[in-house]
Amino acid sequence: MEEKLPLSGYRVADFGWVWAGTLLGSILGSYGAEVIKIESKKRIDGMRFGKVFELGEGLEKNTFFQNLNRNKLSANLNISTEQGVKLFKDLVRKCDIVIENFSPGTLEHRGLDYQNIIKIKPDIIMLSLSPMGQFGPLSRLDTYAPIISALSGIDSMVGYTGESPIGFKHAYADVVASMCGLFAVLAALRHHSKTGEGQYIDLSQGEAVMPAMGAAFIEYEMNGRITGTQGNSSKIMAPHGIYSCMGNDQWVSIAVKTEEEWQNLCYIIEKPEWAKESRFDNVEKRIALQKELDDQISKWTTKLDKYEVAKNLQNKGIAAAPVLTTEGLFLDPGMNERKVFVEVDHPINGNTVLYNWPWKISPIDKNKRMRHAPILGESNSYVFKDILGLTEEEIQKFIADEVIY
């Protein structure tokens, strides 16, 4: 069935590493592309490291790596050698897409930047992901995801209302940028299939976060106002918050939008008289009295299980849902029924629970691939012998010279 997948027939040279550069390749692979992860013992993907920083089985254990590198092949190639660069060029000739997230300038240094790649393969689609883009004063900054998130502006809004920001404690910019990269590559593929033309894509991870902040940028431009930490308050709904429930650190989210919902809520939280009080009779007034509302709602929720609160409110047409942790997600009946997680068998680790893709596409998904992440170098023979046509002797020589390494 695999030849029927939407991306079958496309081959990807995947130089992506760590997080932002890797996720998109695993999705391309799942929908049919042949994705070759190019790795070297000289430069191990940091995500392969777990508790041990040494070669061997330890490199196959990291569950983040397992999530991010599914559906890929793995070939060892050391591009810090001249022969390695030559082999890479031979491989690119047989590929449709190149993905990389080195620091800007690294590939240029090896003569493997887009200007050189198109001499070998004129219609290649090449995606470069970098923290702040390939050019500009901040393009060579040393960063990790939290730095990018700080520079994008989003972290200035993450925190309790009116307090100093605390920021996302999560590689938000990495995940979002990788999915923007996937979208860009898929769009470029459509352009290629219509016109035969490839192209270069310069993706800035910092900029990937910004389109989801449009209202704040325009608010500043329109009214000179700088949006700060947001907490759980809303400008258009009240009550709107997270409330404590029965048990240790258990919470539920409740958002009230219409007057009808407000009326229903008053009865549920045992304050029927509030439904008639004029001091609560529109959203603006309720926003101003949010503290009083929150205290009363908490009095009611704190005695109940978070799912019970959500179900009671949903039965009365009020938006509510439990706050789930990783454990909560794993145990949640909805996440299970929707198969949000999948079990993937791994030759060393056995069954591993990985996340499924964030969408469901019918009927395409019934054929999608879900194969474990590759063991370091497991596809060397396929890549160097079958694709590049090297002889066994040549391969042994390259291994000895630390080119296939």
Binding site: T63, M132, F135, L141, D142, T143, Y144, I147, A150, L151, S156, M157, Y160, I166, F168, K169, H170, M179, C180, L186, R190, H191, S193, Q199, Y200, I201, D202, E207, M210, A212, G214, A215, A216, F217, I218, Y220, N223, T227, Q230, N232, K235, H240, S244, V252, Q314, I318, A319, A320, A321, L324, T326, F330, M335, R338, L354, N356, P358, I361, S362, I364
Partner: protein, 404 residues
């Protein structure tokens, strides 16, 4: 107009607020022809919310709407009325992609669900965005961004352990679901071009958080019983410091997990006495037991300096660091200007606005250039309905009936 990557792709959006409009905005920016369907008279919900120009509420001057609907055509239509449905079906006959987020309507009852539509339009790609999924026990639950972020798991990771967890800002759940849907649509279109077969996309907002964001931690939970919880302004999952701390004029992020980076950081601070203490030599020990003391030392140094000063000192020392930039600082930043990220766009309703976010991917052959401002309510009714074969008289009747 130069050919763009998605030129020729025809999209109908029956969306509201953020998720579906953001999804089709991403398609429109790359050249797709997007026709947006809005409820007659009041228009898309986002028109009723600010920011408004000069803080005056006006359906044609909502910054949120103006941004999310750039490069689209706009018509008014009520597909829940029989005549409205008839018109929608005519439009769908010439459409590649149909994107919907209208939680208040039962599409099955209206005969606008995928099972029904695919009989007439086997090549159509249909995408529905919902808070908790089109299937499953929560399919009929009402949900706003607050609720889908909660169920999806991201909220449990933000905030202090002893305080209430907090929702990500600015409707991130809606936006990210829109981005995911745009990806699923592209996969479907490439599939359709190859096989001739349409497809149905069930895009849940909660699933986005539960999978690619928080789902990374499921296996570690199973193996080690480790539940990812919130740790306030610093991250307990990496060697200290991965922290956000206040300074003289705001806050900065310091992220120096490697030993050499920590050494350089101390050096940049003038090698203070406390840095020699053994509790700050062992990075894991600092993270697990002494981060509060380390925070206090760092904070007293940071509070005497501005964001810009700290950023300069740390960058020169090659210590990963950044100011927590506010939106004005991002807009006015020289780097952003050189990259030309923000777009200045004139619209007849709201005048010129210089800070529309652009696209994060610069295509060498098919670059993004804004083509048109967001439509006024029903701006393209005449041109689109006349093309479908309706007369000006028909349009007047349909307006009176509240169909358009």
């Amino acid at each position: 107009m130069a050919e763009q990557a998605l030129t020729g792709l025809k999209v109908i959006e029956w969306g509201s607020f953020i998720a579906a409009p953001f999804c089709t905005e991403l398609l429109a920016q790359l050249g797709a022809e997007v026709i947006k369907i809005e409820p007659p008279a009041i228009g898309d919900e986002s028109r009723s919310y600010g920011p408004f120009l000069n803080d005056v509420s006006n359906l044609e001057k909502s910054g949120l709407f103006l941004y999310l609907n750039l490069d689209k055509f706009g018509i008014t239509l009520d597909p829940t009325k029989p005549k409205g449905k008839e018109i929608l079906l005519k439009l769908l006959a010439e459409t590649d992609v149909f994107v919907v987020n209208q939680p208040q309507f039962d599409l099955q009852k209206l005969g606008l669900d995928w099972e029904t539509l695919k009989k007439s339009f086997p090549r159509l790609v249909m995408c529905i965005i919902t808070p908790f999924g089109y299937t499953g026990p929560y399919k009929n639950w009402k949900g706003h961004d607050l609720n889908s972020c909660a169920l999806g798991g991201i909220t449990s990771t933000i905030g202090y352990p002893e305080r209430v967890p907090i929702n990500p800002p600015l409707y991130q759940g809606h936006h990210q679901a829109g981005l995911m849907a745009a990806n699923a649509i592209m996969i479907s279109i490439l599939n359709r071009d190859k096989s001739g077969e349409g497809s149905f996309i069930d895009q849940s907002e909660a699933d986005v958080w539960a999978t690619i964001h928080i789902g990374m931690g499921i296996q570690s939970y199973l193996e080690e019983g480790r539940v990812r919880t919130r740790t306030g302004h610093f991250s307990a999952h990496r060697p200290y410091p991965d922290t956000v701390l206040p300074c003289k004029d705001g806050a900065v992020c310091l992220d120096a997990p490697q030993n050499r980076q920590w050494k350089r950081l101390l050096e940049a601070m003038g090698n203070p006495e406390w840095g020699n203490s053994s509790i700050f030599q062992d990075r894991i020990l600092t993270t697990d037991e002494h981060w509060q003391e380390a925070d206090a030392y760092l904070k007293s140094w940071l509070m005497q300096r501005t964001k810009a000063e700290i950023f300069k000192i740390m960058s020169e020392a090659k210590v990963p660091c950044a100011p927590i930039r506010t939106v004005d600082e991002v807009i006015n930043d020289e780097h952003m200007k050189q990259r030309g990220f923000f777009n200045s766009i004139d619209s007849p309703n709201a005048g010129n606005i210089k800070s529309y976010p652009g696209v994060c991917y610069k295509f060498s052959k098919t670059p993004y250039t804004p083509r048109r401002p967001a439509p006024s309510i029903g701006e393209h009714n005449q041109s689109i309905y006349l093309k479908l074969g309706y007369s000006l008289n028909d349009l007047e009747t349909m307006i009176l009936q509240g169909v358009i």
